[in-house]
Amino acid sequence: MKEDRFEALMRDAARTYRKPPEPDLDGMWSEIERETWAGVATTQPARIAARRFTTRASGWLAAATLVIGIGLGRASTTMHRNVPAAPQTAASVASVAPVRSDTAFDAPYNVETSQYLGQTAALLIALPAEARSGNADEKFVGRAAELLTRTRLLLDSPAANDTHMRALLEDLELVLAQVVRLQGEHDRTDLDLINRALEQRDVIPRLRTAVADISAN
């Protein structure tokens, strides 16, 4: 009887919870056609995908350059020593970002957060190249998994008391979880969804800002 009542409630919910309206199929199709085949009489969707991916890759390169530039700039002003003229690779961000003034080292969470942000930036910047070359391998995904664990620990730490930092960590948690799912076989859709998540949430610019803020401390 008890279970019966609950089941009855759930059956009722199937009818009443967010009851879907009739969809405007033709209206939605118009938008889909416009976005998918606009301006091209007969276009192979695969070519559209390739074009979009290329565009995004260009965006990635620009974002990567910005992050690396900020990281190197901050490092040069706070380290009080010369940073080797390293080639502009993603890995250089990971090595530069954790470096801050002595004051910052008083706060252990700042240290951890700074290191984490630098390493996460490096991984996300490297992602498109890794994916294009089919090298989103076990090591790469393993690094994402490790960063995902640290994200969750930071979310439960005082480092997440700051609302902006918490929002950034939550978004990074989602993106890293998606990267972890790339292990094994994956298709372009997975990568596309990760790119979209990064774009929609402005993750790279926010990472850049966070790295700069902590470095400035």
């Binding site: 009887m1 009443t16 919870y17 199929l25 033709d26 695969a46 559209i48 372009r188 859709t189």
Partner: protein, 197 residues
């Protein structure tokens, strides 16, 4: 650009073709075939998007987004699972990605009372209990809510949900069990002693 309408599809397709054949046609640039695939799958994609968002405009946007992505990525569909499973996986991911941002706005701007307008017939269920259940579903953690919506509300099997969400079937069952326990707990003060299992 001339739009492909449902009547156009009906006129130009004189027999039912298999889904793999339709997919091959879409990949060769056949928009009639694309429309046919869309007609076959969009109602359920829209339903799922609406149940997950509770907002017709968002459901429409996410449905469009799902199909734009699906058509642009169709060459990557390997056929390991049903096309519907693949599409629903894209839908759930698109919705999950977008809704976090949407929720941040709503938490600040939308009174909870506005979320659940239901004007259907009563069917003998206490409206207070119904409303409480709806809110309890809303309040579930995302992984539980998605599972409850897909299984109990939309009628997906555990196998289907597991494929869509990319988790083990046992994980899916466990999530549903946990979710239902939380729903019972949320209703317990309205039906004391009745709903504990």
């Amino acid at each position: 650009m001339q739009q492909v309408t449902r009547p156009a599809v009906a006129l130009q397709t004189d027999h039912r073709v298999s889904e793999p054949e339709l997919i091959a046609r879409v990949l060769s640039g056949d928009r009639i075939a694309a429309r046919e695939l869309y007609d076959a799958h969009s109602p359920r994609v829209f339903r799922l998007a609406f149940r997950l968002t509770g907002d017709a405009d968002l459901a429409r946007e996410f449905t469009q987004d799902t199909f734009v992505r699906a058509f642009s990525q169709l060459s990557r569909f390997r056929g390991d699972s049903a096309l519907s499973t693949w599409l629903h996986r894209v839908t759930v991911t698109v919705v999950a990605n977008a809704m976090r941002k949407v929720r941040r706005f709503r938490e600040r701007e939308t009174p909870l009372e506005d979320v659940h307008p239901f004007n259907g017939s009563d069917a003998g269920v206490d409206p207070v209990l119904r409303d409480r259940l709806h809110r309890a579903i809303d309040a579930l953690p995302e992984i539980y809510r998605t599972t409850v919506i897909m299984h109990d509300i939309e009628g997906y099997t555990h196998t289907e949900i597991a494929q869509v969400l990319g988790v083990a079937e046992g994980t899916c069952k466990s999530r549903l069990s946990q979710a239902r326990a939380q729903l019972r707990a949320a209703l317990s003060d309205l039906a004391p002693g009745e709903l504990e299992s």
